[in-house]
């Protein structure tokens, strides 16, 4: 099967669901979500039967290399989990939009992620600035809508506005940067750029770098690198929780894939590589420090996860800055895979719990271990994996990243990384502390968990441990 059909099917699925939503009345809107999950699941299964060789090697806008295919699956899994989360979150959404009757407006909440998913899938396959631009914009614009979705909630809209303005700003920089790269190379295709780059006169390199810098700004915005991370805490906190999870995993992962792809041709020239790696390392260091340190005093779970997401971006950037080491690429990939598992697990539990306790403050988790030991256990697994305790996927991810950094001789970055890992212990264990040490407040209802959530949580916990011991499946998928 031609890999390109994957996206087509996903888009068709989205359109079908929209049609059903519009023209079939009186159904439970959750059916849409289940349909979406099933459809995406099928696509995921189909992704194992594709034949990448059907894509011509010189295809300009689309590659189906192992990296792309891996991240297509990644996007699919992420979207499935977002939909699972959305089902539990739907009542909150419903209450925050002006609707007539039950379930009004919820249907689109289930379908928009599917379009985003298609965007992500295209994005990871994009190997031309034009396709990068359009697929990235598809993702971004659908995120604008999703962040703003609960339009009766001032917080949500504030988050959306901030995201939108800064996102548009970064789009401006991206376009302007592409312009300059095009201007200096006459090409928009990454492969072509790599080809012509050695012939570019040296005097033009400065202007080329100007363009690269602007593109990096836009990608830095996507992956939440310092100093382009400012939107992250506010938007994560304000956005609907499933969207936050999607942002923090899907959007970031696609950003990293694009970052890797975009940087690759420019590393052809050693003079550019040296400078880029240095700047990336500085950005990585700053991101690590900012994300992890600013997370220390946080009291709100979503905001905490936002800062932690910046911190993780720092580790990933550390991997990007260590591209000199052979294992850097697979390290980043593995880290992202692990990050998906543990972040979604955290958000799943968060959605389930905050629906009952009404809020995302860490203090709301007090005594969860005695009230709902399984939920607390799942959260514990997620937190220790995020903190990087062995036998979890998070540990191996960190291990691979640091190993790449050590192999590449980025010692001071490794040093900063070690310190921030310790900070991570502190703030992740704050959650554990709340759940396990603190006494539970009385008179709270039991916490119901839907079957889909239960299955997802169990699967994620299992996956975290399995990948923590046996990373080979992921590493093998990268070929």
């Amino acid at each position: 099967m031609n890999p390109i059909y994957l996206e087509v099917i996903v888009v068709c699925l989205g359109i079908t669901l929209l049609m059903v939503e519009s023209f079939v009345s009186g159904i439970d809107k959750r059916l849409l979500a289940y349909g979406g999950i099933a459809g995406l699941g099928l696509v995921l299964a189909a992704s194992f039967f594709i034949d990448p060789t059907l894509i011509p090697a010189d295809a300009r806008f689309y590659v189906a290399d192992p990296l792309a295919i891996f991240f297509k699956r990644f996007a699919l899994v992420a979207t499935i989990l977002v939909l699972v989360m959305s089902i539990d979150y739907a009542p909150v959404v419903e209450s925050a939009i002006p609707g007539l009757g039950k379930g009004a407006g919820v249907g689109e909440f289930f379908t928009l992620p599917i379009f985003t998913c298609a965007g992500l899938m295209w994005m990871v396959s994009a190997n031309d600035f034009i396709s990068i631009f359009v697929s990235l914009e598809l993702v971004t614009i659908s995120f604008y809508v999703m962040v703003a979705y609960m339009r009766r909630s001032a917080q949500c809209l504030e988050a959306a506005t901030k995201y939108f303005i800064l996102g548009a700003l970064s789009t401006g920089f991206l376009v302007y940067g592409i312009t300059w790269i095009f201007g200096m190379t006459g090409q928009t295709s990454l492969a072509a750029i790599a080809e012509v780059l050695p012939t570019v006169p040296r005097e033009n390199l400065m202007a080329l770098m100007f363009g690269i810098a602007l593109v990096l700004v836009a990608l830095g915005f996507k992956v939440a690198a310092v100093p382009f991370q400012f939107w992250v805490p506010d938007v994560y906190q304000g956005a609907p929780t499933p969207v936050t999870a999607f942002l923090s995993v899907g959007s970031k992962a696609a950003g990293f894939v694009v970052l890797l792809r975009v940087l690759e041709p420019f590393f052809v020239l050693p003079v550019l590589q040296e400078r880029l790696v240095l700047v990336l390392a500085v950005i990585a260091g700053a991101t690590l420090i900012f994300g992890n340190l600013a997370a220390l005093p946080q009291k709100n779970m979503k905001r905490l996860l936002a800062y932690s997401s910046i911190g993780h971006a720092g580790y990933l950037l550390m991997g990007v800055a260590s591209v000199g080491a052979v294992m850097a690429g697979s390290a980043i990939t593995f880290y992202l895979a692990a990050y998906l598992l543990m972040t979604f697990l955290a958000f799943l539990v968060l959605v389930v719990v905050s629906k009952v306790v009404g809020g995302a403050e860490i203090a709301k988790f007090n005594g969860l271990a005695t009230r709902s030991p399984w939920l607390a256990g799942a959260m514990l697994v997620s937190m220790i994996s995020l903190a990087g305790i062995p036998f979890t996927a998070g540990f191996l991810g960190k291990f691979l990243i640091f190993e790449a950094a050590v192999a590449d001789g980025q010692y001071w970055l490794v040093g900063i990384g070690a310190l921030t890992v310790a900070c991570g212990f502190y703030y992740y264990l704050q959650v554990v502390r709340a759940m396990y040490w603190q006494p539970a407040p009385d008179d709270l209802p039991a916490i119901p968990v839907s079957l889909a959530s239960k299955i997802s949580m169990a699967a994620l916990v299992l996956a975290i441990f399995v990948l923590g011991v046996y990373p080979q499946p992921i590493l093998a998928m990268l070929g």
């Binding site: 506005t161 901030k162 303005i165 800064l166 700003l169 970064s170 920089f173 390199l205 400065m206 770098m209 100007f210 690269i212 810098a213 602007l214 990096l216 700004v217 830095g220 915005f221 310092v226 100093p227 382009f228 400012f230 939107w231 805490p233 506010d234 003079v271 550019l272 400078r275 880029l276 240095l278 700047v279 500085v282 950005i283 420090i289 900012f290 992890n292 340190l293 600013a294 997370a295 220390l296 005093p297 946080q298 800062y307 310190l419 900070c423 502190y426």
Partner: protein, 611 residues
């Protein structure tokens, strides 16, 4: 039972006894006591039997640690610590002394401890002590000796601390152990030095190996370090302070451990390495001075003590000083061991008598609460006088006379300083011993208890009588030769022995003259002596200000600098940095845009700066 296996029976029986008492002691008091006494008597019999047997040269020896076996035969690395026994004249003599006195004291204890708490604990401790002491005696190498050295230390700790709920006893046992450990510090270093040079710790091989020392300085250093062990264990100056305090233990313990046997272990150890010491005259110099100073200074301290046991304790220190001096001055170890032998008998006797007095006085130990009890406790009185005379070295008829004068005569030839300290020590001995005997038994009763004093039961009196006999006869040349060989110095002027005899009589006379009436309290007060030359105070000061001071300072430093500033400060600083950093997230969109823009500028600036 062969002579080869007998030492092992001797060694292990008390250990088994101690273990059995520890686990099953609660069955009954007679069970504990009986088992302990039976064990001691068994070792005693075996010891005498062994004493009668000829020496043999192929003792059983097991390798406690053996690296040759661990690393395989091809390994060049050699290190072995055996557990073996030495059976020679020295160890056989010591075996006999230790087991015999132990048996007597064990028996005596039945009476003395009859009404005390911790009865089986007491007998378990005594058996443990006997095991450890026999280990020292039998040891054929330094490490084994050190092992048992430490074990006697701990059994001494247990027994001194028998009345552990008394604060004074609790402090005393702690002090005893700690001070001994200080001595052991040197001992251990000495052993290490010997091993470093000769590659062995076995006594027999050491003697052959001392030629390997690169310089005599190192040999002297090694010997002096080993001697530190003696200083601690045999309560020599300046580590003598623990012995008087150890009198907090039950009196039989004082008698057995802190008078007759354990404290003599130091001297025994010196005798054991005597051939090595002879090769290191510098070390003998140090040993002699320590011994001389100790026998004199301890005599001074004994003069002004009021506690019956403490007087005896200082006299023990003083006598141990003589023995140590004996090692330093004589060409054979027999001289020092001779005094050890006689001293073991008469000092044990004295302590047992003191115990009897204390029992009779209802646990009163202050001699100024006693008086005129000679008629009420006749056996005790006689026995104690015999012991006292032997201690003084009363001419011709006591064992102490022969052994002590021999050492002093040897000292004449080596150095006048040592000689005069030792000779004046004789006068001091006579003074404090007579004072003790006189105040306790003569004059008038000074308290109600003294009026109601009574003789002790037969089980306590019998050992007194048994011990009184050797206290007298052991010194007679004929009997002495049965136990050990000694040499007499040849160039001692004739007036020396007479002067010593005169000192004894002079001392007796002075005391009787002063204490003749029945003074209610000591007519002579010399605070310098009474306060033990202020050495204890000095140590207390050192412990309080130097040790505890540095400890407190270190603790403060650890808590507030290492932990407080560096660790917690670092953590707090990180947290605070995070706290400040997050204020960058002002929530204001335009500020974000501004920072964003600044980031863009910086990024462009750094990237286009390629050359």
């Amino acid at each position: 039972m062969t002579p080869q296996t007998a030492p092992w029976f001797i060694l292990l029986t008390p250990l088994v006894v101690a273990a059995v008492i520890l686990f099953f002691g609660k069955i009954s008091k007679p069970f504990s006591a009986g088992l302990a006494i039976a064990g001691a008597a068994f070792t005693c019999v075996l010891s005498w039997w062994l004493f009668a047997m000829p020496d043999f040269t192929d003792p059983i020896r097991i390798e406690w640690i053996d690296f040759a076996r661990l690393l395989g035969p091809e390994s060049t690395f050699q290190f072995a610590v055996p557990i073996g026994v030495t059976i020679d004249g020295l160890s056989k003599l010591m075996l006999v002394v230790v087991t015999t006195i132990a048996t007597l004291v064990f028996t005596y204890s039945v009476g003395y401890m009859a009404k005390e708490e911790g009865y089986s604990r007491y007998f378990a401790g005594l058996s443990l002590f006997l095991f450890s002491m026999l280990g020292i005696v039998l040891a054929d190498n330094f490490v084994m000796m050190f092992i048992f050295w430490e074990l006697v230390g701990v059994s001494s700790y247990i027994l001194i601390g028998h009345y552990f709920t008394r604060d004074s006893a609790a402090e005393a046992c702690k002090q005893a152990f700690t001070v001994n450990r200080i001595g052991d510090f040197g001992f251990m270093l000495g052993i290490l030095t010997f091993w470093l040079v000769t590659g062995t710790v076995v006594f027999a091989e050491l003697e052959a190996g001392i030629g390997a020392f690169p310089s005599s300085g190192w040999l002297v250093a090694a010997c002096v370090l080993v001697f530190c062990g003696t200083v601690g264990k045999s309560a020599q100056m300046p580590l003598h302070v623990w012995l008087p305090n150890s009198m907090e233990g039950p009196t039989p313990v004082s008698s057995l451990l802190h008078a007759a046997t354990m404290v003599a272990a130091g001297v025994y150890m010196l005798a054991r390495i005597f051939p090595i010491l002879l090769a290191a005259p510098g070390a003998l110099e140090v040993i002699g001075w320590i011994g001389g100073i100790t026998c004199f200074a301890a005599g001074l301290m004994a003069l002004q003590q009021d506690d019956i046991k403490r007087i005896l304790a200082y006299s023990t220190i003083s006598q141990l000083g003589y023995m140590v001096l004996g090692i330093a001055v004589a060409p054979v170890w027999g001289v020092a061991m001779f005094h050890l032998l006689t001293h073991a008998c008469f000092k044990c006797l004295l302590f047992l008598c003191a115990g009897s007095v204390i029992m009779g006085m209802h646990h009163e130990q202050n001699i100024w609460k006693m008086g005129a009890i000679k008629n009420k406790m006749p056996f005790t009185f006689v026995a104690m006088v015999i012991g006292g005379l032997a201690l003084m070295g009363f001419p011709w008829i006591t064992s102490g006379y022969y052994s002590k004068d021999l050492i002093i005569e040897w000292a004449w030839g080596v150095g006048p300083g040592w000689f005069w300290m030792a000779a004046l020590g004789v006068l001091l001995t006579a003074l404090y011993t007579t004072r003790l005997l006189w105040v306790v038994f003569m004059g008038g009763p000074r308290s109600e208890a003294a009026k109601k004093a009574h003789e002790s039961p037969i089980i306590m009196v019998a050992p007194l009588i048994i011990l009184a006999i050797p206290s007298i006869i052991l010194g007679f040349p004929g009997i002495q030769q049965m136990f050990l060989a000694i040499d007499h110095p040849h160039d001692v002027p004739g007036w020396v022995p007479w002067m010593l005899k005169a000192f004894v009589f002079l001392g007796i006379a002075i005391v009787i003259a002063i204490y003749r009436g029945a003074p209610a309290k000591d007519p002579i007060v010399i605070p310098f002596f009474a306060n033990r030359l202020y050495i204890d105070n000095l140590y207390a000061w050192i412990v309080r200000w130097v040790q505890d001071g540095t400890a407190t300072a270190s603790g403060f430093f650890d808590r507030w600098f290492v932990d407080g500033l560096c660790v917690q400060g670092g953590a707090k600083f990180t947290w605070a940095t995070g706290f400040v950093l997050r204020f960058l997230q002002t929530g204001n969109l335009q500020a974000y845009a501004l920072f964003f823009g600044a980031g863009v500028i910086a990024l462009i600036y750094f990237l286009i700066a390629i050359s």
